[in-house]
Symmetry: C2
Subunit: 343 residues, 2 copies
């Protein structure tokens, strides 16, 4: 791609904190010199970068589960890139790595903050998706938090997204009945036909979520993996079985709220169901990725775990790719391809 010549480095910085739904004004694209790696650092050329809903929280001042970005700071993202120069970072030129880098053509990082990836095992983009944070989030959210067993019913929101699509398939591998809420008929077809979910529900064309659940999950809900929150979650909570497990992974429907969102109180219902509701962050499981990544890789290799990627071309289009997450434009993992990789 022509935009990645070594003399210029395009960097997205936070121009202003958004109120409500963010738009293009939040992003400031500047051209800057390519940085020099300091001692122990490597310079990495971005090949793919990941845009994720949780980044909305980092644009906020103060409280979020991810550290806030300051206005003027480079935006950060999980990246797959190629080492261009290593200043004692423990990598060779041409090595492929992942790390928390920037919305930029190039960035430097200390060696220990980069991890080598193997392009022969799987396509390099998957290290941002099914083998990366989203895949691991799905893995631990299913196997450790919501724990669906054979014969139980598992419900997931954001079912066609990077996390939800993987979570539903893992629940299916566990032997559960799997129901996914998603936002278009195309996505319903994707989760039912390609991923093997038992039922998909298009929440944009469904008036009565409870009735839809009664049809799709006639035995109630034993495990609920929530990426979305809001009214769908209100409905699912009314259908929780005794000893149900709810894993709260994300609440994308609320991220752009300008006031504290309100809804029906849910705690009284938990007494009846004796359900457990647990929030989780994938970072709490990072020391166990040596267990999850090989398993995910094996399922991908055998075809038991399908994945889809939506790839936006060009760093300059990263804001669109990010903003599209809140419109549900992606199926599977939303990536930005910044430069071609030639093995």
């Amino acid at each position: 791609m022509a935009d990645t010549d070594a003399d210029r480095n395009r960097v997205f910085r936070l121009a202003e904190r958004p109120t409500g739904t963010p738009d293009e004004d939040v992003f400031d694209l500047s051209e800057e010199p390519v940085p020099e790696p300091g001692p122990g650092e490597a310079l990495v050329r971005t090949l793919y970068l990941s845009v994720d809903p949780y980044m909305r929280g980092r644009m906020r001042a103060g409280e979020s589960y991810a550290e806030a970005w300051d206005v003027g700071d480079p935006l950060r993202a999980r990246v797959v890139g190629e080492v261009v120069e290593s200043n004692g970072a423990g990598f060779a030129e041409g090595d492929l790595v992942t790390g928390n880098l920037q919305w930029a053509d190039y960035a430097t990082a200390p060696g220990p903050e980069l991890s080598a990836i193997d392009p022969d095992l799987a396509p390099i983009s998957t290290y941002l998706g099914v083998l990366g944070m989203p895949g691991n989030t799905a893995y631990f959210g299913v196997q450790e938090v919501t724990r669906p067993k054979a014969g139980e019913t598992f419900v997931v929101t954001g079912a066609a997204g990077a996390v939800g699509s993987t979570a539903g398939q893992i629940a299916k591998l566990n032997g559960a009945r799997v129901v996914g809420f998603t936002g278009s008929d195309e996505k319903v077809e994707f989760v039912e036909e390609e991923l093997g979910f038992d039922a998909g529900i298009n929440y944009k064309t469904t008036d009565d979520y409870r009735a839809a659940l009664d049809e799709a999950a006639p035995d109630g809900v034993d495990a609920y993996f929530d990426n979305v929150g809001g009214e769908i979650t209100d409905a699912v909570f009314t259908r929780l079985n005794v000893d149900a497990r709810v894993g709260v992974c994300g609440q994308i429907s609320l991220y752009n709220a300008t006031e504290v969102p309100t809804g029906p109180r849910k705690l009284m219902g938990l007494i009846e169901s004796r359900a457990t509701v647990e929030g989780f962050l994938i970072s709490d499981f990072s020391e166990r990725f040596d267990q999850s990544v090989p398993q995910l890789g094996e399922w991908v290799a055998t075809g038991e775990l399908q994945y889809r990627e939506t790839v936006t071309e060009g760093l300059e289009n990263a804001p669109d790719a990010f903003l599209g997450l809140f419109e549900g434009e992606n199926i599977g993992k939303q990536l930005v391809k910044v430069a071609d990789y030639e093995a």
Copy 2:
């Protein structure tokens, strides 16, 4: 007491289902013949009966965690009584028992539904309080659900009530800092001076629950035992520490609501705190009372566990005692004394 001669049996029945806050019209007091115990049954004379907030749920048609009473049915309650006649029930005349009986002077029950109690171990009324359901609810809600450890901060609502007063003391025995929300200055003094809580907060005279928590629980909240719900709970949720545990035992502030109560959505905050919220019912722990009751009894005997009872005299005043629960009139366990016990 003159009202308990053997020829008459006063029985409270459900006259109508209440809407909102119940009043006297809900209760119908009738005089009926003393029932005859059938084969395998005992006739029990009520000495004390327990009124409890959860009974409000049983007055409702349909959903509650306790089975609904039908209009015209005798109201049921946990009772301490004396066996008057045993028709092959496995008890002797004069035996003291507890069981789920009626708001009545007399009731019959099959032998297996009655449990013998020992008046030499503890006052008979405590088998409805600190050694009964409320005490066991506190025990398992603390030791199994909210699990406060030494150095952690434990918050309880309904702190001067039968469950809350016991829960806070058990948390204190675990070495936690204990903060209780309660509804009068007298109750604040009770939990601080008699029960040894670190701080009591009078929610009726406190405008800003969050500020009150910041003062009383400056290190945040690690374990929350909720009997009340509503706005106090909203505030506590904003102060949960990482990996906090919330046990939902009751939601008395919502029991009389006529519409679905709404409030700030809480699930997003759980991602940040990775807190676990769990509803529980004491009946799920009933097979382990042989572990909890001796422990509670030992703590009572050594004085490590204090208890208070509020005793209303006379079966005819049971409705007042019940309705008073929603006004916070009781300190400790609210009982109705129906007849004198002469050992």
